[in-house]
Symmetry: C2
């Protein structure tokens, strides 16, 4: 070894990038900026990191540490365990919104980073008590992950009606008026009801707290899974893979 000891590490670089992203948004994360923060030349980073994408993958995996439950806190009941994991996952994405879009090009391959592997392990532990066959367990894990990712992704799109500056309110109501006037939106009209559009909008979307909405969607999904587990236990012959389980007689 003709070593000269490295002055940096991949982990430190990723941590620095993360700090910038959290403080000023992902768009503030540039190679030059990171280097400045580390008192290094820009190109020095490229000795630790193959490209900016490589760095982003590191950041993504670093984030995932927050997704992991302390092992002893993971409930034994599969439903409670999955719920806890889902809440943690959402909290993680809320702290680092840029990570949601990063999922698309993210992990790649199949394994992802080490923390992704741990998350997978923990998810497997959570569904261990379902009694389902392996394939169904993987299904279940993916379902929850999908729902959470989708929720976070879309909930950023709707900053809520309150954040609309008052001077922009006329523009919004005008927009609705113009389209609703065509009469092609009967259901939206029915939803908003009579009278002033602005108050109607506020009324329609009142109490639309993201936290509770998240919880409700998760419950519906898990209710469906519970039902599936029940029917799969009754008729294990189909391998629990029936395209659509028979409806409960009403």
């Amino acid at each position: 070894m003709y070593d000269v000891p490295p002055r940096h590490t991949r982990e430190l670089i990723a941590a620095t990038a993360l700090a910038i992203a959290d403080a000023e948004g992902i768009e503030a994360v540039t190679m030059r900026r990171i280097a400045t923060e580390l008192d290094a030349g820009t190109m020095t980073l490229y000795h630790y990191v193959k490209s900016k994408n490589d760095l982003m993958a590191l950041m993504q995996d670093a984030i995932m540490a927050e997704q992991l439950m302390p092992a002893e806190q993971l409930p034994g009941d599969w439903r409670a365990a999955l719920t806890a994991i889902a809440y943690r996952t959402r909290a993680m994405f809320q702290r680092h919104p840029w990570a949601v879009a990063g999922l698309q090009a993210g992990g790649g391959g199949d394994a992802g980073g080490p923390h992704a592997l741990r998350h997978f392990e923990q998810s497997l532990a959570a569904v261990a008590t379902t009694g389902l066959p392996a394939a169904d367990r993987l299904d279940l894990i993916a379902m929850i992950d999908d729902y959470v990712a989708g929720f976070v992704l879309k909930s950023e799109q709707e900053p809520g009606l309150e954040s609309v500056p008052p001077e922009a309110a006329p523009a919004v109501t005008d927009y609705f008026d113009r389209h609703l006037a065509t009469g092609e939106y009967p259901h939206i009209e029915a939803l908003l009801g009579e009278g002033d559009r602005w108050t109607a909008l506020k009324r329609a979307f009142a109490g639309y707290s993201p936290d509770e909405r998240f919880a409700r969607g998760l419950q519906r999904l898990l209710d469906g899974v519970e039902r599936y587990i029940a029917t799969a236990a009754e008729q294990p012959a189909t391998g629990g893979r029936s395209r659509r389980p028979p409806r409960r007689p009403k």
Copy 2:
């Protein structure tokens, strides 16, 4: 009006950008490229479009036309209708993967483009027969949209095990071996079982068709909704907003 007839339109510009995105990926969509395609100067575009973000919003809304069902094809049954819409939505995102990430900064405000409004109207029509109160219908619509968005977002991350080039296989198995050797992943080990890692991986993820996985997740979610509708009908006093409906006795 001192008119000189415009040579372009916002719609045409958006359509051109869309064509490029579909053919060569979203990263090929640059202002210069669009202008070249239209035999126009680059800056000409800025007379029709405030910024590239503005253009992206136009593209996003143009896409959403594909999301809409032909009105007469929308099933009367709410479950069938929501399922049909979900499938269409997924198909749309599959054709235009870049649109998924675009949801994050997308619509903004609350209304989105005109097509988004139509999608909302159609979704309202779909849930009209549920008998749920308005707030619950909005919930339901959002749930489906969230699940679909999340599924598409995450399913791009996993191009499947088949796409791993054979020469990269050792790297993958090495990666797993190294981590599993620590013994900290008992559930993953159990999942993969004994023997060769590569075939074990292939076995574990065999038959993991995205299409069926999508269908299954959607069914679980809708099963949960069905159950919710049933319990909400029984005890309308709670407004159908109980944090967790009582479990079905087993």
